[in-house]
Symmetry: C2
Subunit: 324 residues, 2 copies
């Protein structure tokens, strides 16, 4: 059985070996740049591990896994352009280092490359794999659109928010696991269970991210705590607070989130006060644990020997225990 | 046998029946808008006609043909954004009617939808169809990048220019024909011949477009004549003139194309003078006819009864004879 790090290394080696054309340089240099820019390779690693649950030969999972990683990086590239983000993984984003047109076009090329790698799978499973990937890819766009829509709204419901993060983040993690499983020989039922494991895990992961951005420990979280509050980001925390807070706090929260504040630290402190008065930290943790619980349940139900599930099981425990 | 108009109608009926989701509206309204915005549906129509060359049942061609049309419209949507074009087919472009972010994201969704429709083909031909489409789609991006690169250069060679229009325009026409043929039951050799027919036809068509923009008759061409000159567009005409003109004319041409001119009519008149002194019109027509000739040769070589080729044969004759 592969350990998490083994699968991760298989993927990063494969990415290093990718033969990306030299010209037109304006198209392919940004592709090379963003793909060599690291990241955890979480999705393709999960695909390989899912394949490994059903057999020792994971070679059929590699190319589709690379396709998923390319697709994920394509969405980051275009999202950073739309969100006007200047830095990604410590380096300038493509639209900053080159220009917006290059970001649009090299992103377009990456989306196509992604589809191409996905199609490099055994013909016997091609239709199943493509159907899952194409459905997932469009859902990721829907999630990004919902996220953009939410910026201009202050009446986003909890259900809408969960649906948005499910589409924007979870479904690609879920599809990575399902596609990996299929290339590894899983039947419909097992593959669907892994999808659902990933879907719940992804939602839990995103809720945890929301929590950690506000309540996390800067030294272990790796990002500046409070950033979501400073940038008025609609997160599970503020959406729940708008529902749970007293009318006074609710109005103040809307004011605080309605524009840029003179003093960021004051804003963070005041918002934290409101969050604490309605127990947002505890509620978010409870919700997160709900989703982790559902994810586990699905993993447990899959009918393979326990040792074949151990790596994914351990991996989700690591996620649960990160930083709080 | 279907006539051109029959195949065109099959396609436009299918596009009208497309079930595009209602929400998120920001994602799908632009998709509906651009797809209902008309156009000649040239590529999918050619796909259906190519299928019809090899059998009477063209139903297997329809979905992939729609995929090709969606992909083509996706490239228009993103190209218009990159080129800052305000009008497309008489209507405001998506980034003007909505905004650039919506144009990026709804274009991304269309690219994914395109891949999905392409995959809706018989499993027996799926791998062949996907390989052709994925290769073609990335080439279209390469062509657009070359086109953008050429804007900043005054040393573009004729070969480079032909390669650019081949990638940006011809390969998708070629792939439409090849994919249609494959879904209609064509063997490798016939399908490849149709690809090559389309590739040469597409190059001829684009060269003709360059010619007509400068030498065409406004009343029949449908666009303002001289627009390419006014916007400093690198076309076959100016690239050839830069090679063929006297040193004086060459320098003057570089000056005229180096920025915006106070008087557009004066500029068009002066550039036309230079073009005429080095016989650019005649040279462009000769080059165009070369490519039309090669296209014909490939069509003629395909081993099906003459009446099965007639529609495509007539269609290319109509192209050759447009407006001059």
């Amino acid at each position: 059985m592969l350990r998490f790090e083994d699968a991760q290394k298989l993927i990063s080696d494969e990415i290093e070996r990718l033969e990306i054309p030299a010209t037109p340089a304006g198209l392919y240099e940004p592709v090379r740049y963003i793909l060599s820019n690291g990241g955890k390779r979480l999705r393709p690693t999960l695909a390989v591990l899912a394949a490994n649950m059903f057999g020792d030969n994971v070679s059929g999972a590699i190319k589709p896994a690379i396709g998923i990683e390319i697709f994920h990086n394509f969405t980051l590239l275009h999202d950073d352009l739309m969100d006007n983000a200047g830095i990604r993984r410590g380096n300038p984003t493509v639209h900053v280092k080159w220009n917006p047109d290059v970001a649009i076009l090299s992103g377009d090329a990456m989306s196509i490359m992604a589809h191409r790698f996905i199609s490099y799978c055994d013909e016997k499973v091609m239709k199943r794999v493509l159907d899952i990937f194409n459905q997932t890819a469009i859902e990721v766009c829907e999630g990004q659109m919902m996220d953009m829509d939410f910026e201009g709204r202050d009446d986003v419901s909890e259900d809408e928010y969960i649906r948005m993060i499910e589409l924007k983040t979870s479904v690609l993690i879920a599809a990575s696991l399902e596609i990996g499983a299929i290339t590894g020989g899983a039947g419909e039922k097992e593959a669907a269970a892994l999808y659902d494991f990933g879907r719940n895990l992804g939602i839990a992961f995103q809720l945890q991210d929301d929590y950690l951005d506000t309540f996390g420990d800067t030294s272990t979280f790796g990002k500046k705590v409070g950033n979501d509050i400073i940038t008025n980001k609609k997160t599970y925390l503020v959406i729940t607070a708008l529902k749970e807070a007293s009318e006074n706090d609710r109005q103040r929260l809307l004011d605080l989130y309605s524009g840029e504040q003179a003093d960021a630290d004051d804003k963070v402190r005041e918002v934290l006060g409101i969050f604490n008065r309605c127990n947002i930290g505890k509620k978010t943790r409870a919700k997160t644990e709900d989703y982790f619980g559902k994810a586990y349940e699905r993993l447990r139900a899959i009918n393979v020997p326990g040792e074949r599930k151990k790596v994914l099981d351990d991996f989700s425990r690591t996620l649960i225990n990160r930083n709080y």
